[in-house]
Amino acid sequence: MVDDDVILELKGVKKYFPLKSGLLSRVKKHVKAVDGVSLKVFKGETIGIVGESGCGKTTLGRLMLGLIPETSGNILLDSKELKTIPRGELRRKMQMVFQDPGGSINPRMTVRNAVGEPLTIFRISKGNDLDKRVMELLDIVGMKPDHLHRLPHEFSGGQKQRIAIARALALKPKFLLLDEPTSALDVSIQAQVLNLLEDLQEEFGLTYVFITHALNVVKHISDRVAVMYLGKIVELANTDDLFSSPMHPYTHALISAIPEATLHKTRQKIILEGDVPSPINPPSGCRFHTRCPIAKPGRCDVEEPLLVESTSEGHSVACHFPLINGNSLPIAIS
C-alpha cells in the first residue's frame, strides 16, 4: 500500500499518566500506558488492536481520537498534526463507539435527540429535516422508524449498541474507533452487531480501528491486527498471517489460550506463568521476558527488541528470537 492511503499515522506515541504522592503532590512515578507506538492506519481497512487488560489499548484509542493529549510523539490525521485540527472538524472526521451502550447513551434523551445531537450541534439540520435524517440513520442500522421517540431503557443491549452506531455515523465520518463494541453483548447479538459493522464498512467505505480482547472477534473482522503488551505493540501483521504463523511468543500463547468450541483440538495449549507486570515499573529489556518460555538471560532482560519487519511482507514483530516457520514454543511448565 502507498502512503497516500494512510488516514492516520502514529509516530512513537507515548502516554504517561503521572502518579502523584507525598506532601506537595510531587510526581514520583508514571504509569506508562502507551510507551512508544508507531502505527499506520490505511483507508478502508479494519485494524484490530488486541491485548489483555492494562496493556494500553484503550488509551491508544483515546489518543487516536485526540481525547487525551499525548506525552510525546506525533499523531497525524491525513498528514496533518492531530493537535492542530480544530475540534469540530476532527469530530466530523472521526467518531467512536464504546463498550457499554447503556453508559454512553444519555438515559433521558430520546433516540431522536441522541442520534440527532451531532446534527444539531453542527447545525446541519433541525426540525422535520432532523427527523428525516435520524430515521435514515436508524434504517441504516436496522431499526424501525417508530423507535424514534423512545428512551434508551426500552431497548435491549444490542439495540442500544445499534443506536450508538447510528449516532457515530450521523456526521458521515471516515474513521470509526470501536472500543470493545461487542464485549457487553450476548453471543447471538454479538454476531448481529459484527455483521452490521461489516455491512456499514462496505457501504460507506469506513476505516475501523477495532479494540478488543476477544481474539476470535478480531480474527473475524480485521484485515490487520496489532498485538499489544504493556504499552507496546509486540506484533503487527495481516490477520491471516498472524493467526496462522504468530511470530511473537506472547501472540502464540494468547492464541492458544482462547477456549474454542470444538472437540478436535489441533492447537497445543501454552499456559503462561504469572501475571502481567505493572506498567509503573515495566521489566527491563523485553517486557515479556518475565513470562516468556524462550527468554534468554543476558539478552532479553537487557536489550529491548524493536518492532521490525520480518521476512514475510507486512509482518512486524518485536522479539529477539521470533518464531519462524513452524518453530513452536516449548510447553511451559506451570
Partner: protein, 428 residues
C-alpha cells in the same frame, strides 16, 4: 438418569414477584451432576443459569413453585436454615465471578481462610493456647525492639534506615514528660496501649493453623504462599484473587463446587491457568463442579456434560461430544454458528434473528419459537417435552426430525433472517 447422582435438580420452576408482574426465571429445569463430574450450564444473560445454581445452595430469593433438589439423596428445598448452613461450605461451595467483591477487603487472606475453616470445624488442633501465643507475640516484639536499638547503639547510622525510630524516641521523651506532669492520665494511656496490643496479639494465628492455610494456598499453586497469606485482597492481581477464592472454597474439601462465571473477569492467559487449576483439583480430590458460563469455548475445554439454557428452560442436555458435534435444538445450533471461529474464516457471521425474550412476558409454548425457523402452531401452543434421543442426550423441541443436519438448520435461520428483513422487521 442415575439415582445415585450427587446433585439432582428435578423439574424446578421458580419466579420472582415484581411490581410489573412475575419474572419467570426458571421453567422446569431438570439436570443431575455425578460425583467427580464437571457439568456446565451455558446460556445467554437472563437465561436462568445463575438462578439455578443459587437455588441449589438455598440462596435464591425467588419463589419456588414446584420441583425438588436432592443433594446426595437429601432434599434441599425446605431444609432448615441450620442444615443449609451446614451443607454450604462443608459439602457445597461456590465461587463467584468477581473475586474482589467476594473477598472482604478489610481482612488478610489468612484471616479469611481461617474464618471459613473455623466455621466449619476444619481447623487442625491448635498447638498452643491463646495465652502462650500472646506471650510469644509480646516476646517477639520486645526482642525485635531490643535488637533494633542495640544495632542503633552500635552504629547510629542504622537509625536512618527508618523514620519510625525517630518517632519512637520522640514519643519516649513525650511519655516521660507526660508521666511526670500528669501521672494518672499517662497510666490510663499506657494501659490502653497495652490492652490493644494484647487484643491484636489474640488475632495472630496458631502456627498449626497458619500452616494449614499456607497448605490450602499451595494447593491452588499460589507462588510464595506464606507471603500471600499475609496480604490483603487489593494487593493481589485478579487471577491471584480468584485462586485465593478457590483455595478458600476448597479448604473444607466440598463434594460439589459451584463456579459461577469463574473466569469472566479474567484475561485469557490467566483464564487458562484457572481452568487448568480447576481440572487438576477435580482430578486430585474428585470434586464435582457445576460450571455456570456463557462461553461455549470454556465449556468445551472443561466439561464432561453440558446443559443449554434458554429463557429459563433447559433446552438441551448431553455429553460434551453430543452437544458440540450433533446438537439438535435449533437454538444450540444457531448459537454455535454465531461464535466467530478461530479456525475457519467466513465472510459474514450466521446469526439468530431477534432477541432474548422479556422474562415477564415469556412467549407461550416453546420459548424459542419467535426466533426459530421451524416454528409452527404446535410450537406456539405446546411446550415441547424433553425427549431422550439416546445415550443421555435429551432435547426439548417439537421438530427434532428436521434438525439432524447441522448446516440445513443454519440455512433455515438465514432464510428466516431474510424474510424478517424484507418484511421491515427489526433483526435484534
Amino acid at each position: 438418569m442415575s439415582n445415585d447422582s450427587l446433585l439432582r435438580v428435578e423439574n424446578l420452576r421458580l419466579h420472582f414477584p415484581t411490581d410489573e408482574g412475575d419474572v419467570r426465571a426458571l421453567e422446569s429445569v431438570t439436570f443431575d451432576v455425578d460425583e467427580g463430574e464437571i457439568f456446565g450450564l451455558v446460556g445467554e444473560s437472563g437465561s436462568g443459569k445463575s438462578v439455578s445454581s443459587l437455588t441449589v445452595i438455598g440462596l435464591s430469593t425467588g419463589v419456588i413453585d414446584e420441583g425438588q433438589i436432592f443433594f446426595d439423596g437429601e432434599e434441599i428445598i425446605g431444609a432448615t436454615k441450620e442444615r443449609l448452613r451446614e451443607l454450604r461450605g462443608n459439602d457445597i461451595s461456590m465461587i463467584f465471578q468477581e473475586p474482589m467483591t467476594a473477598l472482604n477487603p478489610l481482612y488478610t487472606v489468612e484471616k479469611q481462610i481461617h474464618e471459613v475453616m473455623l466455621q466449619h470445624g476444619k481447623l487442625p488442633p491448635a498447638s498452643s493456647a491463646i495465652v502462650e501465643r500472646i506471650y510469644l507475640q509480646i516476646r517477639g516484639q520486645i526482642s525485635n525492639i531490643y535488637s533494633k536499638s542495640l544495632s542503633i547503639l552500635k552504629d547510629p547510622r542504622n537509625a536512618r534506615m527508618s523514620g519510625n525510630y525517630l518517632l519512637l524516641v520522640a514519643s519516649l521523651f513525650f511519655s516521660i514528660w507526660l508521666f511526670s506532669n500528669y501521672p494518672i492520665i499517662s497510666i490510663f494511656l499506657f494501659a490502653t496501649i497495652l490492652l490493644s496490643g494484647l487484643l491484636s496479639s489474640i488475632n495472630t494465628l496458631d502456627t498449626e493453623h497458619a500452616d494449614a492455610i499456607v497448605q490450602c494456598l499451595k494447593d491452588v499453586s499460589i507462588p510464595n504462599p506464606t507471603a500471600v497469606a499475609k496480604m490483603f485482597p487489593h494487593e493481589l492481581s485478579g487471577g491471584m484473587r480468584q485462586r485465593v477464592m478457590i483455595a478458600m472454597m476448597m479448604a473444607c474439601e466440598p463434594r460439589l463446587l459451584i463456579a459461577d462465571e469463574p473466569t469472566t473477569a479474567l484475561d485469557v492467559t490467566i483464564q487458562s491457568q484457572i481452568v487448568e487449576l480447576m481440572k487438576d483439583l477435580r482430578n486430585r480430590k474428585n470434586t464435582a463442579i457445576l460450571l455456570i458460563t456463557h462461553d461455549i469455548g470454556l465449556v468445551a475445554e472443561m466439561c464432561d456434560r453440558v446443559g443449554v439454557m434458554y429463557a429459563g428452560s433447559l433446552v438441551e442436555q448431553g455429553t460434551i461430544e453430543q452437544i458440540l458435534e450433533s446438537p439438535r435444538m435449533p437454538y444450540t445450533i444457531g448459537l454455535m454458528h454465531s461464535i466467530p471461529s478461530m479456525e475457519e474464516t467466513r465472510d459474514s457471521l450466521p446469526i439468530i434473528p431477534g432477541q432474548v425474550p422479556d422474562p415477564i412476558n415469556l412467549p407461550s409454548g416453546c420459548k424459542f419459537h419467535p426466533r426459530c425457523p421451524f416454528s409452527d402452531d404446535k410450537c406456539i401452543s405446546h411446550v415441547p417435552p424433553v425427549v431422550d434421543i439416546g445415550d443421555g442426550h435429551s432435547v426439548s423441541c417439537h421438530h427434532i426430525d428436521k434438525t439432524a443436519d447441522f448446516n440445513s438448520v443454519q440455512d433455515a435461520f438465514d432464510e428466516l433472517v431474510t424474510i424478517l428483513q424484507s418484511g421491515g422487521d427489526i433483526v435484534g
